[in-house]
């Protein structure tokens, strides 16, 4: 899939949220999208998913089956978990038998069995996020877009996500993941896209050997230093606070 000189703004005459974005995602490729809060990561992901249309430029060769997991799952709906997933499977064109199989599989994998008959508004944030993940995977996606997929998930499900990403990639699907928690270090071989000031810089997957450098930064500049390191394509593995010098 290609993004050719894509520009996007939310209203005519408004500020450009994304400018001159040119990038490519290969089948089987994994891309980690980095950037500060408000940099435009979610906007870029929605553009790739086909939710938003560019004001200029174009998105070419988007795969037919796209799975999109939004940053916040819209739980304010009257359905139960089971009813919602079945309805979304039907919207995706699955027949009754295939719907049953797909829903059963993802309900089981995400541990949603005991919540099947619970209404969506009654779910915790993490459980609702699992439903959001499940709806994107009901049909094996050729393009999977995960917007901060680790938010609110319990440890067991957080550990599941990299495996699912690698499964999709192994099948030839492309995956885009945004992350500000540093969880994507568990996605080896992922390319990096960094969104900053409305522009996108890309770095190919780093398959060479890596070194770990311990760096001490001023506590007051901690967040900025971590963000700058990520923007430069480095993987921040861990942040620890130390007392004294």
């Amino acid at each position: 899939m290609h993004l050719d000189d894509v520009w996007l703004r939310y209203r005519r005459g408004g500020p450009w949220v994304l400018r001159n974005v040119t990038a490519r995602v290969e089948p089987g490729g994994i891309v980690v999208v980095l950037g500060r809060n408000g940099a435009g990561k979610s906007t870029l992901l929605q553009l790739v998913a086909g939710v938003l249309r560019p004001a200029k430029g174009r998105v070419r060769d988007r795969p037919a089956v796209v799975g999109w997991v939004p940053e916040r799952f819209p739980a304010d709906q009257p359905s139960t978990v089971d009813g919602y997933l079945r309805a979304m499977a039907a919207v995706r064109g699955l027949g009754p038998a295939a719907t049953g199989r797909a829903v059963d599989e993802w309900v089981q994998r995400f541990g949603l069995g005991e919540f099947r008959d619970v209404k969506l508004p009654e779910l915790s944030k993490g459980t609702a996020q699992k439903v959001g993940l499940a709806q994107a995977l009901l049909v094996p996606p050729d393009l999977l877009i995960l917007d901060e997929p680790w938010e609110g998930l319990d440890a067991a499900t957080r550990d599941l996500v990299p495996g699912i990403v690698l499964e999709v990639a192994a099948r030839g699907g492309s995956v885009l993941v945004s992350d500000h928690r540093g969880e994507t270090v568990r996605l080896p071989g992922a390319a990096t896209w960094t969104v900053a000031d409305g522009t996108l810089s890309t770095a190919a997957a780093d398959t060479g050997p890596r070194c770990v450098v311990e760096v001490a930064v001023s506590a007051a500049d901690l967040a900025g230093a971590v963000a700058r390191l990520r923007e430069q394509g480095h993987h921040v593995l861990r942040v620890r606070e130390e007392v004294g010098s």
């Binding site: 249309r53 796209v66 939004p70 709906q77 009257p78 039907a90 919207v91």
Partner: protein, 227 residues
């Protein structure tokens, strides 16, 4: 598209949002039919005029029930922005048919119609169905234009609904210089009350279809940039 229509209709009914426009329709019809008996054509013509803002409001409520992010998820799941948009219009039309069924039954329930000795109930209901269907398309299109996805704010949505409904009456009055700017509800009410050649019915139908198409196209165009 049928699956998405079913999903949205289910949400509309299960959230209870379908109740308010139904009550509004019943209140308007009870006022309309509380004053005595009329010919079926006359009664149904005015009924369709009264149902127009209710159907438009019902459409706006229906389209606004779905959270914005879920609407975007549906767009990704169905794989086409156009199909997602059309599914919304289709859902509103199906819900509108329910309200029209109530409007068709109302004058008989209220005993507000008198049928000529040579007339039949079936023919009267058929005229009523025709004139209400004439109002349904434009009402769905106007309600869609007033939906949150397009207008963004409740105030703007209400303004679109009220302005569209008032203009439909004012610009549809006899002698209006620009009757073609609004759906032919007033002309249809005059036609069903006093009768006329079949060609007039065809002209009114064509007018309503063109207005619906133009407004639905405007809605679809706006939705391209307002998912």
């Amino acid at each position: 598209m049928i699956a998405l229509t079913r999903m949205r209709l289910n949400g509309f009914v299960r959230t209870g949002r379908a109740v308010a426009p139904l009550i509004a329709a019943l209140a308007a019809l009870s006022i309309l039919y509380g004053g005595g008996q009329a010919e079926p054509g006359e009664a149904y013509g005015v009924s369709a005029l009264v149902a127009f803002p209710v159907l438009a409001w019902q459409t706006k409520i229906l389209l606004d029930v779905e959270p914005d992010v879920q609407r975007r998820l549906a767009r990704v799941a169905i794989g086409s922005a156009a199909r997602e948009t059309v599914a919304g219009l289709l859902t509103a039309a199906v819900a509108g048919l329910g309200t029209i069924a109530v409007a068709l039954a109302a004058p008989w329930v209220f005993q507000a119609v008198e049928v000529d000795p040579d007339g039949t109930v079936g023919r009267a209901v058929l005229i009523g169905l025709g004139v209400h269907l004439l109002a349904l398309g434009p009402a769905v299109a106007l309600g869609a234009l007033a939906s949150r996805a397009v207008t963004r704010t409740a105030g703007m949505g209400a303004a679109v609904l009220v302005t569209g409904s008032v203009l439909a009456v004012v610009l549809g009055l006899h002698g209006s210089p620009v009757p073609w700017l609004v759906p032919p509800l007033m002309a249809a009410a005059r036609y069903t009350a006093s009768g006329g050649p079949t060609l007039t019915a065809l002209t009114l139908t064509t007018h309503a279809l063109l207005w619906t198409t133009a407004t639905a196209c405007a809605y679809t165009h706006l939705r391209h940039t307002r998912p």
